[in-house]
Symmetry: C2
Subunit: 164 residues, 2 copies
DNA sequence: GTCAACCTTAACGTGCACGGCAAGGTTTGA
DNA sequence: TCAAACCTTGCCGTGCACGTTAAGGTTGAC
């Protein structure tokens, strides 16, 4: 292979510069640097001239951050705590692979489960409360639709009121 | 009935002062005033000495605001837009009650439906994205739990790894 | 009436999540 | 090799959502 630029078995050692990352994820370079400042992220590498270089895991992580921020509305501080849990999980993975002691493995797994459960509960709480608001809105919608159907059918509704 | 403090047929004409409202809803008085500043809310009345006085509708409205802010993570600007829709809906209710023209009633109802649908879609979008994050977390959880069950049963897992 | 506990407006302060420079170093294509 | 286009750190600025303080007016129990 001449210069190794398109090896099909290549484990995508493609590293992106900050603007490419930001562009890809719909963030700004400033935001990405800010997340690093806060310790939410550490780019895979730096170039010779200290340019930040990001790999696929970094992109994953940034997507996760963006999701928690935009979709779930968590603060960067909360996200930070979640990611610390993720990191503890990663460290556990490493320890897990290097031990053969069954009891230690059980401990590591139980620990990981607790951490994942925390994120789970956190998200379920959000989901529940949003679901409650949705059903509230839906009941208003249904109410309106019944009235409208009554009118369309030429019927006189039992009580005329588009709200409630 | 002596002093009318517990008339069962009473339409609760009880008006609350700002600290009572804040206390009831877990907000601060500053926040409530700020929401009024932004036009999200207008207290039902003012006392002789211009104390703000809130009625049950105001409390409802504040609960809605709090829900959209805390649970759904909307900005106060977005909430403002939603509440403008609510107000248009209220105006429509008034118009609806004073008209007998069926065509106008249909128009008002359809308008109200569109507004409610906008809130609906907005919330469903949030719910979807959160659901996606939840199932991501759940699959990690399940994975962990299978490994743990394997270990508890003394079996050797097919691949030892506490991560995703 | 009077006093503590509440309220008012007005104003400035604060934490978060970046935005937007400046002053310089790095990459890269022609 | 050299200029345009990128990147770096550093630092001050900004919008949002309030917190806090100041200076005073209002309420309600005594």
């Amino acid at each position: 292979m001449a210069s190794g630029e398109l090896d099909p078995g290549d484990r995508s050692p493609r590293l992106l510069k900050i603007a490419e990352v930001a562009d890809e994820l719909g963030l700004t370079t400033r935001a990405v640097r800010y997340y690093e400042e806060l310790g939410l992220l550490k780019p895979a590498a730096r170039s010779e001239g200290s340019y930040r270089l990001f790999d696929d895991d970094d992109l994953e992580r940034l997507r996760f951050i963006r999701g928690l921020r935009d979709d779930a509305g968590f603060s960067l501080a909360e996200i930070g705590r979640m990611l610390e849990d993720e990191e503890a999980r990663e460290r556990n993975r490493a320890r897990f692979r290097t031990t053969t002691d069954l009891e230690e493995r059980r401990t590591i797994l139980r620990d990981a489960l607790i951490r994942v459960d925390r994120q789970h509960v956190s998200l379920l709480g959000k989901a529940d409360r949003i679901a409650a608001m949705i059903s509230e809105v839906e009941s208003r919608r249904d109410h309106l639709q019944r009235h409208l159907a009554d009118l369309e059918a030429g019927r006189t509704p039992r009580h005329a009121d588009p709200g409630s």
